[in-house]
Symmetry: D2
Subunit: 349 residues, 4 copies
């Protein structure tokens, strides 16, 4: 029986392999080589390139899984976790505790006639929607004097007091797609890329070649700088290692190469902001050139409608040399939030 199952399993794998090869040649719906996407999905669209997912593309991604092994790409967040200082701090606070419920005595109806002495814990959480493992929504970044975001949604029309009213995180589709990890750190022979290291298209090509991986249109592309090797349990960056390496990232050319030449549907990394941040002494020239302090965000989120993944933990994938996988992620369904946060994306191989 076991041998029979093995034989069948091998047959299935071979057939699936064939089918998925076929799938990868399929054209995406709106992507154009050399141009990427842009505001091509209609004036009400809040989804961007994630519109490219279809039953067929998801099925192909799922069918590529051959082992059933999971990798948790999320990092653990607590009050001390490293974050960009411009975001609000966080506290997870015991709100109800067994002792507290019994002492407080505010719910006698629940506590009485309870000879098993049952009680409960719950927590109140004060948190930013831009911490730990994230997917930036298409309304995170704005441009222009009219403060518009993806697809031309303007603050004066779609802002509000309780987050954004177009492209909030509830519009980020459930993501099931082929994932590719590009291990630039290993390619460059580094534990983690140097501070303010600028990842170029040449680096991406070199790393892909070294690891013998090919990109396909519609991929979730995750780029490894090695920064998260320093996250530890909860990213308490007392020695400044995360902060140091966090400024390594892709430049605008790389973002364009991934989107326009390769059809990357979502681009992420293991840093807090994906993109290269210049050294202090280079900042003025950089901003003068790109007219923005975050040109890659502008390009991907606002112009192309391509979501950005941040602080994805790629350490275990790198260790196991897993470069292709099925990427699955769903963001918290909290209205108004601008990003999926404290995520645990799954890589399945």
């Amino acid at each position: 029986m076991e041998r029979m199952k093995s034989t069948l399993a091998i047959t299935v794998v071979l057939l699936l392999s064939f089918l998925s090869q076929a799938a990868e040649t399929a054209n995406l719906q709106k992507w154009q080589k050399g141009r990427g996407w842009g505001w091509v999905w209609g004036k009400d669209d809040e989804i961007g390139s994630l519109n490219e997912m279809t039953d067929a593309s998801r099925l192909a991604a799922l069918r590529s899984v051959q082992q059933g092994k999971t990798y948790d790409l999320g990092v653990t967040y607590d009050r001390n976790s490293y974050k960009w200082p411009g975001h609000n701090p966080g506290e997870i606070i015991s709100f109800r505790t067994p002792e507290g419920v019994k002492r407080q005595g505010d719910l006698p109806a629940i506590i009485e006639k309870n000879s098993s002495k049952t009680a409960w814990h719950s927590c109140a959480v004060f948190i930013s929607d831009n911490v730990a493992t994230q997917i930036d929504g298409l309304g995170h970044v704005t441009k222009g004097n009219d403060d518009h975001w993806y697809n031309g949604f303007r603050e004066r029309d779609w802002g509000g007091n309780w987050g954004i009213r177009k492209c909030d995180a509830t519009t980020i589709r459930l993501i099931v797609a082929r994932g590719v990890m590009i291990d630039v750190a290993t390619y460059k022979g580094k534990d983690a890329l140097d501070s303010s290291y600028e990842i170029t298209p040449q680096d991406l090509k070199g790393a892909l070649e070294k690891q013998q991986t090919q990109l396909r249109p519609g991929d979730v592309v995750l780029i490894r700088s090695g920064t998260l090797r320093y996250w530890g349990e909860t990213g308490n960056d007392t020695e400044g290692k995360i902060k140091t390496h966090d400024s390594a990232g892709i430049n605008l050319d790389s973002a364009k190469w991934l989107v326009e030449q390769n059809g990357a549907m979502l681009i992420g990394s293991d840093t807090s902001g994906l993109e290269y941040l210049p050294r202090d002494e280079d900042t003025d020239a950089y901003r003068a050139k790109y007219k923005s302090f975050i040109p890659v965000h502008d390009y991907l989120l606002v112009e192309q409608g391509v979501h950005i993944g941040e602080f994805h933990n790629l350490e275990a994938l790198a260790k196991d040399r897993v470069y292709e996988f099925c990427y699955i992620c769903s963001t918290a369904k909290i209205k108004g939030t601008v990003a999926g946060f404290t995520l645990r994306p799954i890589a399945l191989k």
Copy 2:
């Protein structure tokens, strides 16, 4: 080419079907028919029945997907969403806005030399870890004068100010498993089960038979009361419909039947608490009998180590008569929290 692909696809489906049949006969590691689990995973275990997942079980669940269609089982949360009144309220508040950043002027270094007028949104979120679509962690509920939870972890040892220090939500494994939906509401001919309707094992058996579904050990079992047909956009229960139907749920016998006879690895529903809540006039007798106000929680979380799913939106599955699927869920990785909350579990068919 297309015909060839179709033929191959059919072959694959048939083979996969055979393989998954084989998989379902596989024994779980620790589950015993007639007893379920209990504290069988070692004294340090924080995971409970989710330990039963293996590469093989995940692969079988993934391979069962034949179409690539996704169902989002999460409901959208905002400040007005229905929740148990004992949990803290929530606010999602615009923390940074394009206009606000520019007016506040607190970050000149970021705003200067920014001729594209790039800015951003972020939100501060004050929230309970027990709202919207949830998976209760094994430390949510406690029993006894020593306030212990699953596996004997005691408040005096593992409590704290910032949530629980054993069995917090970061210990809830990435879940990829066969899911089964039992549509009790349809079986009983109701839009939604009556207030305080007690779902018995007979109801579960009857519904399973009607929908021709078979449970297998290791399943994620989701029970539909129909309550979430009233969620609307964000669960603003102005007419009290959610509150009314939310008291329908399984009784202790049903929980035992699912775990001890059927090996259910996780049990969920479309209500805020899964279990039957008696009418006011029946409350005293109920508590006297069961020694607890939430005996199903006691049994599943504390005694059996079986996680509970809450407010899972099963409406679309019911409409499409999808009773078997691949269930995938990952909870926010926030240390100390006692439950996964505002989730978007995925059902894949």
Copy 3:
């Protein structure tokens, strides 16, 4: 010795009485009978009519105290306290507790070598700046398409993400002034004024005459509707009594009479909003007439620069028939907040 002290004390009281009579005839600096104030304090002014306080006016108010008895005009706030539903809810949560500090073990350096087993409590507070006993700042209410507040400060110039940047609560001067309570409820023979009772200048004059009190320019005027007799311990309005009576208040004529004819420097009451709110059926006509849903707020805060006091507990003053007193209040010094909240103003007689 005691008799000598008594004699002297009487002499002092008489002399003080003469002095304070003299003081009351003193002209205010900018107030004009028939016009009140307005934007008369210079283009940078954030203080409004509270500019009228001087050393002399404070001294006179202090000198009027003859007994040293204090009345606490604040009501106690907790998570269940009645508030206008448009404000955010509140939670006071134990953040550090002796048991929690010891169990959490996050501060070993503090806990070690501590044979007295010293520990501490602290709370995290999530709260609105518009709850319980308040003084509305001059930036609370805005008017016009340019969203300007007192003195013409505009949102586009002085808004921000973290509250307002002109006229925030830190600009509310320490208040030491003559206070007068006008007990309209007693005058009208009511425990509390009826729902949507409209307090007219005639009511104010009648009540003042009945209680034999005279207003003087520069007074803090507090108007009693009787609503706070229903506050109980923490304003948990389960029976809806506070909500019912909270709509009684002064109309615009009364506000004008107090400011323009009498020089009231601050006007408060024992309701959440001071002003009359019409019944549902009268709302449309009311708004059409006044062009605002809160014309008294518009008039006092925006046009006149007169602060508003809310939820001042006047029950003990009424019981003791104390109509004149020294009013002392200082608001929390939290930058950006738009009102002083959870205050305990002091009435001294």
Copy 4:
């Protein structure tokens, strides 16, 4: 007329001076020289030494005011303000704004028929009850394995989830009392006392003598280290000056001398914790000697029932050489909180 008023005023002042001299010899109710207070106010008492205030004592303090000039002893708090790192961070966030209300459109009934375009601001505040200018309540600090605080209230009896249920900040009486400032910094010839400077009784006596001030039983005693000269606008301690000087404070001998020999009813300072904190290298010996990391807190709050004032801004008093004044303070009336915070105590002279 003016001359007549002046003559009378002088007479009053002289008479008041005589009366207040008489008042100061009055015995306190429970204080004993050489012993102070302790748990002398009955087993239910939550007030401690503030019980000593009487109408007469308040009247005397008020009558001592000769000028009507106010000093605001509070410092301004915002998200960047220096605080002890063990307390939770804070955010003041614009919750409703004129633009936001109009865009969000959640309250059409309020916004419609509003041709004046009236709208409003409010803020949501997340804050610690131990920040900026404070008065520690008698339940802030606990001792012993039973975690008891003042008067023997124990955590197991009077703890809870939402702050403390005995001696919370709502029990801190309205304070109107004679205040004395002891300017130790000036006495020692320093801008601010050195880091970890230990203020001894000899320093206090020397400073009092230099400034020719006499303590009287029942005084609020405020000790100046000079630390708050570095607060600036909001205490953003980027250069570490506040942190450096904040460790200067009174030692246990000084606390005892103030309470037991002088009847100080409340003791405060311009640092975050009043008491001397040893240098790192002295910490072990210090704790071994005193059995606590905060022996002055233990002594004052737990043992004596004497409240502690923190971060009182004494700079203007020092500049004007005002050593005696009427001290007036009322704390926010928020149930469960353990301290009055973000206060603006008033010094009147």
